[in-house]
Symmetry: C2
C-alpha cells in the first residue's frame, strides 16, 4: 500500500510541479495546461503547436488549437519552455532548457539537439565589442542526418 502510494505521488509529480509554478505566477492550473505541460515534458523532439494539438486529440478531443498556442506562449513567458522561432517554417517549442544548439537535416527536416559547452564558453571574435553586448548565442548546423546520408544520394 505504501508502495502504491509512492507510485501515485510519483505520477503526480508533474501535477505538483506545475501547480507550484501556476501558484507562483498567479494563474490557474487547468486540465488543458496540465496535459500540454505533460506532453511537452514527454516530447523528445521539438513539436509545433499543431503537433502538440494533434497528440492531445485522444486525451482531450475538444481542445482548441488556439488554446495550445496560448498555453505554450504562457509557458514560454514563465520560462517553462522556449519558443523556438528557428529557420523558416513554423514556430517550435522546446522544453529542454539546457544550453544547447540545433542540427537541421536539410532533407528530412529532422532537428537534433547539439551540446557544445566548449563553444558556449569560448570567447567571441575581437570586433564584437564594437557591435554591442552579446547575451546569448545560438548555433544552427545544417546538413544531412545519418539516416538520410545512408538512404539517399544527393
Amino acid at each position: 500500500m505504501a508502495k502504491e502510494m509512492d507510485m501515485s505521488i510519483t505520477s503526480d509529480g508533474q501535477f505538483d510541479h506545475l501547480k507550484r509554478i501556476c501558484n507562483e505566477a498567479g494563474i490557474k492550473l487547468t486540465h488543458q495546461r496540465l496535459e500540454i505541460f505533460k506532453e511537452m515534458v514527454a516530447a523528445k523532439d521539438h513539436p509545433s503547436a499543431e503537433a502538440i494539438h494533434r497528440r492531445l486529440q485522444k486525451k482531450l478531443p475538444t481542445i482548441a488549437l488556439d488554446t495550445v498556442y496560448r498555453t505554450l506562449t504562457t509557458f514560454d513567458e514563465l520560462g517553462i519552455l522556449r519558443k523556438l522561432r528557428l529557420t523558416g517554417e513554423r514556430t517550435l517549442f522546446d522544453a529542454n532548457l539546457d544550453r544547447h544548439h540545433h542540427f537541421f537535416c536539410t532533407r528530412c527536416k529532422k532537428i537534433e539537439d547539439v551540446y557544445w559547452p566548449e563553444f558556449d564558453n569560448s570567447s567571441l571574435p575581437e570586433g564584437i565589442g564594437s557591435i554591442g553586448k552579446i547575451r546569448a548565442r545560438h548555433l544552427e548546423l545544417h546538413g544531412l542526418c545519418k539516416k538520410c546520408l545512408a538512404e539517399g544520394n544527393e
Copy 2:
C-alpha cells in the same frame, strides 16, 4: 566623350552583370528584376520583401509586392542572394554571400553582419559525426547593440 562613354559603361555594370546571369539561367532581364537587383546590391542592411517594395515606390510606382517576392525568390535560387529565414518575424534577404553570421539587437531589432573566420574553420564537436554530415553553420548572436546600450537601461 570617351570619358562619358566609360562612365556610362561603368554605371551599366550592374546591368551587364545581371544580363549575363539571366542569359545563363535562361530567364528574361526585365526592368523590375534589374531595379530589384540594384536595390539589393545597394542595400547595406537585410531588407524584407516589403522593404524593397517600399524603396522602389519612387522609381517603380506600379510594381507589385508579389513581383518582389517572386523576383527575390528567383534570385535566391540563382544564388544571387540568400533568403534569410531567421529568428521569427518576416523573411529577410541578404545580398552578401560571404560567409558570415548575424547579430540581433533584442531591443531595436537591428541586424548586423558578424565575420568570424576562425569559427568557420574550427572543427565541430566530437559527437557530431553520429548525427550526420554538416554542410553549413550559422551563428545567431543576440544582445543589445551599442546604441541601445548607451540609450537604455534594461
